[in-house]
């Protein structure tokens, strides 16, 4: 799927791109395991997560399954007695009474009060399943490599596997209901043996084509909904734009509401037309399967009349069995319905399974993720970080963003990286932080490849403020504290980080200080400006006692005073680690378009077309009169 529409111009490029994607995209969808396998998976999960509710549910279903045949049997006696005693006065009434009580008992057992207890049980089952499966799903999402989770394919898979607890619960429920309906139908059918054993056979036999039909329809529907995921997501995206808060002012100023609404309608119409067409075809195909029960029912009713006429059947049995025809056709309808639901829900569970049990996606450059590294991060760092011929290409992109980077970042050193928009600075940051694995070359720390470090070692030793930082809409204190969850409970640590990142002043001015919620998620939250969010992101990066600190355009949205504060922090950051002993000096890398800040760096690296084009101190590069000098001239002219 994904590989067929990959954005590429030349066949060769397309081939390369699809090779890169081959591992990440599933290609044309294969037919996976069938419905029974999904049902097994769902039942296993349900018994594992909620054995108590499951046992109770099964007991309820057994009661429900036996209800209809029992009712019919009781009705037969009741009517027989009623006809026999009609007009007999009080003694006739006394004879009817026990059978009325029996009828009441079957109703209580099968559909009335006892049935009410199903809802809380199902709810508990759903909750336990959600707790287990949704947590696994989220954990898997959080473990995905960055390049993968940034891609549409992963987002599709995440979308499809949403609400796994509800999906599995529905399939389990379908399974239970279907078995109960089946048992019930069998029980009712067997009552007709007094008419003719053939009737039993016809009734039971009529379930077979129905089952086959529903299964086939379910498969078609499944394929259809799978293919609609991406267009559906696109339409939903436009809808989100139209009702989004952040988007409103721009949509209004540019008068885009009408244009986007038309786009949404168009997308919807296309999705709808297809969906409606398919549904219509399904309904038409289902017609014979709806007519079949009616025809058999009528035939059996005629048979009942002849049996009655021949005195082979009592009037009580006639009334009960005649009434039973309605119940049976209802049961058959329910059977078909549950079967249809089951194949639909089975397909949903299939998405959950694909996500939870699926093979992790791989890029050619990815090492085997099952073999984790074992080396510790060298503390204190002696030689520093080093890029050796690092090449990186985004999946599906034609050419690499980084085309052989050689760069060194020593402990205690302040390095400024500058370059034009889109030259690969932010990508370099992600490679240095181990978020992307290079396609060629390697990144080492004190000679150890980052890939060989034990899990968690690298992240414990580095920290970063990203250009497109995330707005953690928690409390202001938490939004900073997530930079180091072990220390976030310590108000002093959070306050110190806020001071270092320039957030302290405005946070303390908020109504509840560090306990003030920010953003829109929590109630009563304060809305922050872009510059204030950026300072929270910077403070977050300051939470860690990191060996390597990376600041990606930390001052873009800041006012001049705050900007000066950030540059001062950059200047001081290299001797910021813990005890301040000279051998424990931090390596700092800053990306900035404000070249004034580069003067404070010990060294400046200029990135161009994915390579390091110039390297040296500010003064050296200025004297060299190259690209850096040109950029400096462009900017400094405004301030002279």
């Amino acid at each position: 799927m994904a590989s067929s529409s990959t954005a590429s111009t030349t066949p060769a490029a397309a081939e390369r791109a699809s090779a890169a994607l081959a591992a990440s995209a599933p290609g044309p969808r294969r037919r996976g395991p069938g419905l029974l396998s999904h049902l097994r998976f769902a039942l296993r999960a349900a018994f594992r997560d909620a054995p108590g509710p499951m046992a109770a549910l099964i007991a309820l279903q057994i009661g429900a399954a036996l209800g209809p045949p029992a009712s019919i049997a009781v009705t037969q006696r009741l009517v027989t007695v009623a006809v026999d005693t009609a007009g007999h006065g009080a003694s006739g009434f006394d004879a009817v009474l026990p059978w009325l009580a029996a009828l009441l008992a079957t109703l209580i057992l099968s559909q009335g009060p006892v049935w009410q207890f199903r809802e809380p049980l199902l709810q508990r089952l759903r909750q336990r399943l959600t707790s287990d499966l949704e947590e696994r799903r989220l954990a898997l999402a959080a473990r995905m490599p960055l390049w993968e989770i940034e891609g549409s394919e992963a987002q599709d898979r995440l979308d499809r596997s949403g609400d796994p607890g509800g999906k599995v619960q529905r399939l389990v429920e379908d399974g239970l209901l279907l078995s109960a309906t089946g048992v019930s139908a069998l029980g009712v059918s067997l009552l007709y043996r007094v008419v003719s054993p053939w009737v039993v056979l016809v009734f039971v036999g009529s379930f077979v084509p129905l089952a086959l039909h529903e299964a086939a329809e379910g498969r078609k529907w499944d394929t259809f909904t799978y293919e609609q995921t991406e267009p559906q997501r696109r339409t939903a995206y436009v809808d989100r734009l139209l009702t989004g808060r952040a988007e409103q002012k721009e949509l209004r100023v540019f008068g885009l509401l009408g244009h986007l609404a038309a786009r949404w309608r168009e997308g919807r119409r296309a999705l709808r037309a297809e969906r409606r067409g398919l549904k219509r075809a399904m309904i038409v195909r289902g017609l014979p399967f709806a007519a079949l029960p009616w025809a058999t029912g009528l035939a059996v009713a005629v048979l009942l009349v002849y049996r009655l006429h021949a005195h082979a059947l009592g009037i009580g049995a006639f009334v009960a069995l005649f009434g039973g025809l309605g119940s049976l056709s209802g049961t058959r309808g329910m059977f078909g319905y549950h079967l249809g639901e089951m194949s639909e829900h089975g397909a949903e569970v299939a998405h959950v399974r694909t996500f939870l049990e699926g093979e992790p996606a791989k890029r050619p450059a990815d090492p085997d993720r099952s073999v984790a590294g074992t080396r510790p991060f060298p503390r204190p760092m002696r030689e520093g970080l080093r890029c050796e011929g690092v090449v990186f290409r985004y999946p599906g992109a034609e050419r690499p963003v980084l085309q052989g980077i050689d760069l060194r970042l020593r402990p205690g050193e302040r390095l400024a990286v500058v370059g034009e928009n889109g030259c690969g600075k932010s990508t370099l940051v992600k490679v240095l932080l181990g978020l992307y694995r290079p396609d060629a070359g390697r990144v080492t720390v004190d000679g150890v490849d980052l890939a060989e470090l034990a899990a968690g070692e690298l992240h414990a030793a580095v920290s970063a403020a990203y250009q497109d930082y995330w707005r953690f809409e928690l409390t202001a204190g938490e939004s900073i504290g997530v930079g180091d969850t072990r220390a976030m409970g310590d108000p002093d640590a959070v306050r110190a980080a806020a001071a270092a990142g320039g957030a302290a002043a405005f946070v303390e001015a908020l109504p509840q200080g560090f306990a003030t919620p920010v953003g829109h998620v929590l109630e009563g939250a304060a809305d922050l400006s872009g510059g204030q969010w950026q300072r929270l992101a910077l403070s977050r990066a300051m939470m860690r006692d990191a060996e390597v600190l990376i600041l990606d355009e930390p001052a873009a949205a800041l006012d001049p005073k705050a900007e000066a504060g950030v540059y001062a922090a950059f200047a001081a950051a290299s001797n910021g680690v813990g005890d301040g002993a000279p051998e424990r000096r931090r390596a700092v890398l800053m990306i900035s378009h404000r070249l004034g800040s580069a003067r404070m760096a010990d060294r400046v690296a200029v990135l161009r077309d994915g390579r390091i084009a110039e390297e040296g101190t500010h003064d050296e590069l200025l004297a060299a009169g190259g690209m850096y000098a040109g950029m400096w001239e462009e900017q400094a002219q405004w301030y002279r």
Binding site: A2, A7, T9, A13, V79, G87, S91, V96, L97, L103, G112, P113, Q116, E119, P120, T130, S131, L138, A142, I149, E150, G151, S152, E230, R234, T243, Q248, L251, F254, L256, G258, H259, R276, A290, L308, I315, F318, F322, E420, N421, S426, G456, H459, V462, Y466, Q467, V521, A525, D527, G530, Q532, R540, D559, P560, K561, H593, G630, M631, Q635, W638
Partner: protein, 624 residues
Amino acid sequence: MVQVGAATPPLRRGRAAPSLLRFAGWMLQVDPARGALVLALRIVQGASPAATVWLSARVFAEGQAVWAGRAAAAAMLGWLGAWGAVGLLEVALWPLFELASNAVIHDMEDAATARLQAKAGVLRLEAYERPDFHDILRRAREACDPGMMLNLVWNTTDLPQNAVTLLAVGGLVGHWSPTLLPAVVVAALPQPISEIVQARARHFRGRKQTADERLRGYYGTLLSNPGAAKEVRTFDLQAWCLARWRGLFWKVADEIHRQERAQTLARAGLNTVTLLGYAAGLAVAARGLAAGDLPAARFAALLLALRSVQGAAEGIAMSLLGWGGELLLKVGDLFAYLDLGPEEPAGGARPDPSGDIVLEGVGFTYPGKATPALQGVSCVLRSGERVALVGENGSGKTTLVKLLCGLYRPTEGRVLYGGRDMAELHPQALRDLQAAVFQDHVRYAFTLGENIGLGRAEQVADRETVRRAAELGGADAVAASLPQGYATPLTREFEGGTDLSGGQWQRIAVSRGFMRQAPLVVLDEPTASLDPRAEAEVFRSFAQLAGGGGQAAGPNRDATAGGDAGSGPVTAVLVSHRLGSARLCDRVLVLEGGRLVEQGRHDELVAAGGPYARLWAVQSQWYR
């Protein structure tokens, strides 16, 4: 209409019955033919139980005669045929109903979402700043869910069907045994009535829990959203987020479950009462049978009829009060959102494109906030003037920009455009005279060309115009670096998309602003993420905008929608922390804590040694 001002009134709670009528009316309005068909079919379906019961009674009576040898089988077969015909009619009408109801459900879903969108577009922007706005919108959105519409359409059409069943079968029962009917109906009522209380309790518990639920959802988002992925990984937040998610999950889940369990006991008890009523009704019938008042065949038919009556009575009460009532409270949430105000005016005077913009004692306080974001701002932006807006983060620059664009109405004072209060102007006409680049611009998951072209949606497909706007805003370099150029789909959110850097996105946003030629141009921090060369280019384009009619202002002045809008001078407002750009402006306005503290030319302000001079000193030191 619920107005949004400095004080936000709480929304009134929705009531079920008016919502039902409004929903039904809406359904007939959205899809008149099919909506009416669905209703008609359900009424026919409502009549069929009565027919079945009556025919069954005939069949039983004939059956008794046949059994007693008093009649031949042929007469019985006739009644049986009629019974079969009713069944056939049901079988035949079902697919028709399914088709029509499917279509209606889809149409309603679309209509509801379209209304939601339309409302989002006409609601004044201040409403979005309401603290409870997000909850209102979220609940309204839940009411547009596909499953919700299905349930609503079913529920709404359940009512007439059940009413017909109740009347028809009830009439039959009443005809056969007048004492029986009221008893049975009354016995059916306690359960649905308890549902009113229960459903309301659930609904308002749900509202109370929205905050916890939303926060739990947010932790889930942190774990699965690509935007948060970098920081979640760098700061190893996975375990922490999951722990919080889990804690909130069980907190909410246990509360829901406790309530559900308590309600179940009540429901089960009341349901027993209903069944006892059924049994009691049958006992009464059996008495009549024993006394010889009721024929046996009717007694047998009553077995079917009484449940049918009870079912219908229950169904009606449930539609209005129970499960259906809960649904209707939810659709009430949608209606509450649709009734929200204030809306943008639909009409108004045409603004004078060459007029000055005058602020008279303008103040603005965000809804629900105690302190004003802007206070007592008075100044004049003369037509054709270039104005820089300078100040610290949070000093009110962006708020002032929104007031200038007419996106917010001042809560104090007024903004005049060409001598008229902006509030009196036609919003669409006003916007035709504006172009703006916002700090938090939108990154559309569309193609690069569309991202730029949406600055003037009518010209989104006009390649030449898009290309010229791209040149002015610096996005031409972005296009050149992509293999498919302007046709490249952006963001990897969808198949085949490409991600861009922050600076590249900003170039696109600025280019989008250059798609329109307008007498008022507002650039809010247009160069925050730009490299020095691109920044210089944007500043130069800006400088050319105003003064002297602005020949280089826009790529195609003749194509301007407003006609005369393109020919006059351009007033340009630049918000920037890069003070070098302020030198290009005719005037600098300095904001501090929501007040206008200084204004004048760059040189004047530097010489004055005030707040601006201090900011300038801090920033220019890096370049000396």
